[in-house]
């Protein structure tokens, strides 16, 4: 992409702190030559975590690949809000095919580039949690085990938001969705075993797996940059709160993502070839209750009586994450 002037007002709050850093340490978003891969004017809701996450991920990947990048996108909010014909918010080579095949389309792109000797062009696949952990799981696993040279990014907002907030395999226990309503003796989603796709990716021994959230955008950029230094299948799982589906204010997206991390419910870590190599420690631990209470999807837990039993089970999940990844510095 050619140089594109970005007005100062668009460059975001990170730019101020960045002035104190050496140029190479400054964020991608603070760089006026950033791609603006997902440009303004798209139709995402206010406070959409996915739009924010995708912009940071793709701009970082574009800088890391020197603008030589192609993206395959699954069906979902990200595709719908960005490309209502004849408009497109993408300033990158971008393709949408189907809901469940983004990893395979990315494989096809990578195979074509390899056959043509275009080793300079990198491939990114992306989708929401429905497109990734549910309907796209087979294609994703195939992409992993074959060793295809693709960075796949899942923007996880923990339900099928595009179709009206139905449960997905990434929906957490007790959460209310349109298909796990807050009615009956056990309201909300079931307490299943969950589908931990970062760990499933690690079980494929792929070169790089990382989790991140939109609460720490510099960490997100750094993980994309790290992923882009590697080849082969890489997986990035980004927690992106959805104000509509989670029942939070548009202004709370970052705060809720931070509480997910600080409570231990969403562990942020990196892994290479199946082994955890770094974790983002919890800076100030909060009870899961503090994460649940602001979200209307958990409102049924805080009625009369308060479902302390359910909240305790969710706390157990957080505690297990904390122990598994050593998220509390003191605990280890």
């Amino acid at each position: 992409m050619p140089y594109q002037h970005v007005p100062f007002k668009q460059t975001g709050t990170l730019v101020l702190g960045n002035r104190l850093l050496a140029p190479e340490q400054r964020t991608v978003q603070a760089d006026q030559r950033r791609t603006n891969a997902l440009s303004v004017g798209h139709r995402a809701c206010q406070g959409c975590g996915e739009a924010l996450g995708a912009r940071y991920v793709l701009d970082a990947a574009m800088r890391a690949s020197d603008g030589q990048m192609v993206v395959a996108n699954a069906t979902g909010c990200l595709e719908v809000f960005s490309t209502p014909y004849p408009e497109s918010s993408w300033r990158i080579a971008w393709m949408h095919s189907l809901f469940g095949n983004a990893p395979a389309v990315a494989t096809g792109i990578a195979a074509a580039l390899k056959a043509k000797g275009r080793t300079d062009v990198r491939v990114v696949g992306q989708g929401g949690d429905g497109g990734t952990v549910d309907i796209g799981m087979g294609c994703l696993s195939g992409m992993f085990e074959r060793g295809d040279d693709v960075l796949y990014v899942c923007y996880d907002n923990e339900a099928y938001m595009n179709t009206g907030v139905q449960r997905s395999g990434a929906t957490p226990p007790a959460a209310r969705t349109a298909t796990t309503e807050a009615v009956g003796p056990e309201p909300g989603n079931v307490f299943g075993t969950g589908k931990d796709v970062p760990r499933i990716a690690m079980a494929h021994d792929v070169p790089y797996v990382a989790t991140a959230t939109v609460a720490d955008l510099r960490d997100l950029e750094a993980k994309v940059e790290r992923a882009m230094t590697l080849h082969g299948p890489r997986y990035l799982h980004v927690l992106v709160p959805c104000p509509l589906g989670w029942g939070t204010a548009s202004s709370q997206t970052i705060e809720i993502a931070r509480l997910a991390v600080e409570s231990g419910l969403f562990p942020v870590f990196e892994a290479e070839h199946g082994e955890v190599t770094s974790v983002l420690p919890i800076r100030q631990q909060v009870a899961v209750e503090d994460y649940l209470r602001p979200q209307k999807r958990y409102a049924h837990l805080f009625g009369d009586p308060v479902r302390t039993d359910v909240i305790a089970r969710l706390q157990e999940i957080a505690d297990r994450n904390i122990a598994r990844y050593g998220l509390l510095k003191d605990a280890s």
């Binding site: 014909y85 080579a93 095919s97 189907l98 792109i109 074509a112 074959r146």
Partner: protein, 399 residues
């Protein structure tokens, strides 16, 4: 080069001569020998600049082909039966996106009940997927159609299915003149995509289209299919000039002059039908055959022209639209809507049941005397049907 070769091997070597850049493969009988042979050609280095991707499903196979084709690579895959159904969603996507993927369909029945043998149920179920469908009569044509398919697909930006009868053709060893590399190179120019995923010129491919333009998009898809009715015979003519034999095209008439009765069919059964028709001709019947090579787009005008002087038309259908009748027969009736001849639909050879000359002879004898019902099933065992409909001990009227 003339060779005594298995149909699958002939197709694989011909596809290789078309220099595909990405081949995706997921095994299903009776397609396996094709992708196995291509795997050997890539692995041994005989086919270069080609990525061979073994995928985890047919849905992934078509999806990989979609990504590769959108990146400007010549993409190929092969499947059959359940596999074709499993990639159904991606089939419609490939045609909607105008990606010139070429795919062999080794025609096989679809279940339940599971059945690995030949009929046309698979391809017929995808007749409205937006893919062009070409049907090979023998292995020579199966090989030749692939060379033509890439050129047709790329000139129209539409995907093409080359349908060849599973086992009957894929596993049959016969003499095939394999297209030579130089001749294929001269016939098939390098793929120049109209729109490609390229960072230097970033397009958004696959946007969402709402009610304000969706009808127009679909209408344009229809027009491109109709364009194929001109392109396919042109490509076949050019092929004939360069390779010195006739393959492809829209329809293939056989002994139609003065024919009162015309048998219409697709695929390898045409050989048996022609032999039977020759016998009936010897007996003095005025009978001929119309082979349909291009089923999608349906060459309605060519079919009408070929059949307009007939008194009766017998369509031999290798697939059944349950609750309706023959699939090809329905389209033939539409093509003949303005004509007055009788049309008989004969569903035959389902799930690999052989279509014998004896059975065809008996059926056509009934046809020429107009004693054939409008829809019939060749060699139907009525005893089995009755037993299943009214199992012993559960007959409602048994005293």
């Amino acid at each position: 080069m003339l060779q005594q070769v298995e149909g699958s091997q002939a197709v694989a070597e011909t596809v290789a001569a078309c220099r595909p850049e990405v081949i995706c493969a997921y095994p299903i009988s009776p397609q396996t020998h094709i992708v196995e042979a291509l795997s050997r050609l890539v692995k041994s280095g005989e086919l270069t600049n080609c990525e061979y991707v073994t995928v985890e499903s047919e849905f992934a196979a078509m999806s990989v082909a979609i990504g590769a084709s959108a990146t400007g690579a010549r993409a190929y895959t092969a499947t059959a039966s359940q596999g074709l159904l499993y990639m159904a969603e991606a089939l419609f996507n490939a045609s909607g996106l105008g990606l010139p993927i070429v795919m062999t369909v080794a025609n096989r029945a679809i279940g339940a009940p599971i059945n690995i043998w030949n009929d046309h149920s698979d391809a017929m179920s995808m007749r409205d997927s937006g893919w062009l469908q070409l049907y090979a009569e023998d292995n020579q044509e199966a090989a030749d159609l692939h060379v033509q398919a890439f050129r047709i697909a790329e000139s129209l930006s539409l995907p093409v299915m080359v349908c060849m009868d599973g086992f009957v053709l894929t596993h049959a060893v016969e003499r095939v003149d394999l297209p030579e590399q130089d001749a294929v190179d001269a016939f098939l120019p390098a793929y120049e995509p109209r729109q490609v995923l390229d960072p230097a010129e970033p397009y958004s491919i696959g946007a969402m289209v709402g009610p304000e333009a969706f009808t127009e998009v679909r209408y344009l898809a229809h027009l491109r299919q109709l364009d194929a009715l001109t392109a396919i015979p042109e490509v076949a003519d050019d092929f004939s000039r360069r390779f010195g034999r006739t393959s492809g095209g829209l329809v293939r008439p056989y002994r139609l002059d003065d024919a009162e009765t015309v048998v219409v069919a697709l695929g390898s059964v045409l050989g048996t039908i022609k032999d039977t028709v020759d016998q009936l001709r010897d007996d003095g019947e005025r009978i001929g055959v119309l082979g349909i090579t291009t089923f999608r787009p349906f060459p309605a005008e060519a079919v009408r022209k070929a059949l307009r002087d007939a008194t009766r038309v017998v369509v031999v259908d290798r697939a059944l639209a349950a609750g309706m009748g023959g699939v090809v027969g329905a389209d033939v009736r539409v093509a003949l809507a303005e004509e007055s001849m009788r049309v008989y639909d004969v569903v035959a050879g389902l799930g690999g049941r052989p279509i014998t000359k004896a059975s065809l002879h008996t059926m056509l004898r009934a046809a020429v005397t107009d004693t054939l019902p409008p829809l019939s099933f060749l060699d139907l065992d009525t005893n089995v049907v009755e037993e299943q409909r009214h199992p012993a001990g559960r007959r409602p009227d048994r005293p």
